[in-house]
């Protein structure tokens, strides 16, 4: 099982400047947990203290929104997860 995770530009400093990380997992939550194990600084970027995904993060699986229950969404070999930040500036 190989899942690609697309890292936003503003989080790449937490992934040794890697824009794409390949890892394993059967759900979005598992993949993100593996990402955090590999790059511990990603934990503060993605999760609140109570372990929930920050509300300003939208997960995309193969270009489609994974909302709701984003962490529970299943993924399969070859899928691409994208971390999309909600932005509000103008």
């Amino acid at each position: 099982m190989s899942i690609k995770i697309d890292i936003p530009s503003y989080m790449k400093s937490s992934t040794d400047n890697r824009g794409v990380v390949e890892l394993n997992g059967s759900t979005v939550g598992e993949c993100l947990n593996h990402l955090v194990k590999q790059f511990p600084r990603m934990k503060k970027q993605l999760f609140s203290k109570d372990g929930n995904l920050f509300e300003n993060i939208i997960i995309s699986i193969n270009g489609e929104s994974a909302y709701p229950e984003q962490l529970a969404k299943p993924v399969k070999d070859g899928d691409e997860i994208k971390i999309v930040l909600v932005v509000g500036g103008g």
Partner: protein, 250 residues
Amino acid sequence: MLTTNERERYDRQIIIQGFDQEGQEKLKRAKVVIAGGGGLGSPSSIYLAAAGVGKIRIVDHGSVELSNLNRQVLYWDEDIGKKKVASAIDKLKRLNPEIEIEAIDETITEANVSRLVAGFDLVVDAMDNLPTRYLLNKAAVDRNIPFFHGAVYGFEGRAMTIIPGKTACLECVYHGATIPQGKFPVIGVAPAIIGCIQATEVIKYIVGIGELLTDRLLIYDGLNLKFTELKVKKDPNCKHCGHLRREDRK
């Protein structure tokens, strides 16, 4: 009917296939609210004025500050300290004296948002914060006014077009998500690109040409120069537009 002067002013766009004089006349009859006269409102208002949108209302309560000038291209060094709406009207009328431009010096709130968009055909989201975007989204949905979302951060941007009752709205996508308020980083070219995309969508919608940016959030990543999309669906339980779907089913 277009005047001789208007036919000459808009000649290069009138000759676009599918645009024609009829499209230009639609633009002339259109009334667009631009909510926010900052980094996004500057390019969108400039290009909508240049394109010949007949009536533009800009709403902003700020005054021009030196730190605005890296991105808010409606304002120049000589405008520092002036009200943004006064400076915006001055610039846009000098660009195109043949259209009507109205500036409202108010902060958009829950109390006035409905009044500010009433009577207009389209609303451009050129705000600098999410809470006011949600107010505008709801007001646009409630009044059945197409809403053109844009937002930026650093070198990044987002854009989406919302047709109330038919396509996903901002609340369907963000579900009321909040982000910390305050000073955000931004390079001027990011709102320039997103503001121009919003203006492109407005023109397309009015003229009735092309395919709109609906049910997909455009994600612009300037640092990697990539455009990607997030496909989204209208949420039947959406707090803003869910009731429209139910009505549609009747």
